[in-house]
């Protein structure tokens, strides 16, 4: 429970970056996103980004001294995460500004830079946890799962938003299904590598699967997958309710998975 701020921060930041990249991508493809919708999504991402930053501060003993966290950027992945995510949030504000001003060119440029930095931020974030001291974290699956969270939640967030605004012109479920399939593979690889790993990794796997949360997480994952597959096959029923529902289910699912990620981390 003590890592709860980090659970929320990582999920939110990955959602925000995923959503941002999606919005930027759709906007670049000259999809018909109205200025108002674009602005609203952009603002909502900025707000979520700001919330995630504030929540991440709660994890610190001295939140008001958080500014120092960028000092060790040469060595520390946490420093890099803080720096890049900070820059990303800053740029997303600028990006929002260009939505307001409706300057598509600058929007595209800033959005592109911000997206790249966002990706680096997620990479840095994952690298923080890939440490030998915690065998359950110390693998590339951590990196995959962080990016997959972004890929699962980001597009759906934007998709649900656009569906609500009745402006959804792309079938989002395809991306989401692909992400979920990857996530399932990563999950399988993850647990089998834990089982074959150090005693602390085996213990982490045991703890994870022995919690009810794990089964809720699995259930939500399967349900979301089923709904999305159904949507994918029946393009006509893509509507705001379904996307909102799937987004909420997957948000819960990812949240639970991340919660377990922290809670069952057994130190050497």
């Amino acid at each position: 429970m003590h890592d709860l701020p980090l659970v929320i921060f990582t999920i939110l930041s990955q959602l925000v970056i995923g959503g941002f990249v999606t919005l930027w991508w759709l906007d670049r493809k000259k999809s018909p996103i109205s200025r108002q919708s674009g602005l609203m999504i952009s603002i909502s991402l900025v707000v979520l980004g700001a919330i995630s930053v504030i929540i991440s501060l709660l994890h610190l003993g001295h939140p008001f001294e958080a500014y120092r966290a960028i000092l060790n950027i040469g060595v520390s992945w946490l420093s890099r995460e803080v720096t890049f995510y900070g820059i990303f949030v800053g740029l997303s504000v600028l990006y929002t500004w260009f939505w307001l001003k409706d300057e598509a060119g600058k929007r595209g440029l800033i959005g592109g830079i911000a997206s790249a930095i966002g990706v680096i931020a997620i990479f840095s974030s994952a690298k923080i946890y890939m440490i030998p001291a915690i065998p359950a974290w110390n693998s590339v699956t951590t990196l995959f799962s962080f990016f997959l969270t972004s890929l699962i939640l980001g597009p759906l967030f934007v998709g649900a938003f656009l569906a609500i605004r009745s402006e959804l012109s792309v079938n989002i479920s395809g991306i989401s299904i692909t992400a979920l399939i990857f996530a399932a593979i990563v999950m399988i690889v993850y647990f089998s590598s834990l089982q074959g790993g150090l005693p602390q990794a085996v213990e982490a796997a045991r703890l994870t699967t022995h919690q009810l949360l794990f089964w809720i997480r699995l259930f939500t994952f399967v349900i979301a997958f089923a709904i999305l597959t159904f949507c994918f096959k029946n393009q006509h029923i893509q509507n705001k309710k379904i996307y909102s529902l799937v987004f909420v289910i997957l948000f819960v699912s990812e949240f639970l998975a991340r919660f377990q990620f922290y809670e069952t981390a057994i130190h050497l």
Binding site: H62, E65, A66, I70, S76, L78, S79, P132, A133, L268
Partner: protein, 186 residues
Amino acid sequence: MAKKLGFLVNIERCIGCHACEISCKSFYQLEPNMRRRRVTELPENLVGTPVRAFVSTACNHCDEPACKKACPVGAYTKREDGIVVHDQNMCIGCQMCGKACPYGVPQYNPVKKKMDKCSMCYDRLDEGQLPICVEKCPLEAIQIVDYNEVQPSNAVSVVPTFADPSITHPTTHFILPKPGKQTRRF
């Protein structure tokens, strides 16, 4: 040549009494649950014949300290003599060092809301005194050794319960107990 100071823990002498740990807690007036030095029970079959064996560890002042790499504010420095020092004034209490250290050495001080760890009493060393745990061990089982000068032939770099030294290259070394003769009824 720079020094490479590290603890040499003589398990043969150690009686597992925890005086090192408590004298450290007392000297630095740590919070009741904080342990800069920890005494850990070793498996009974450590030397063959069953015995009660313990190992006392603190910060291992590693050659490649994971804490130093993890810290976002750069609160950790490794001195020329090898001591890894944590600057509490810099620390913002993110606790990442505690996670990254394979030995779980840095601990959160719930009152100061900052991390805390063994400093090998570097200020005492600088004044020509021994670290408190070294000075106060009733059995004189803990020493400070400059491993650049001497590699004690009877010392080993790992014991059960001690994480793989290849991760951070801790300087702590151990002298294993010698098995005694036993006549047991069972």
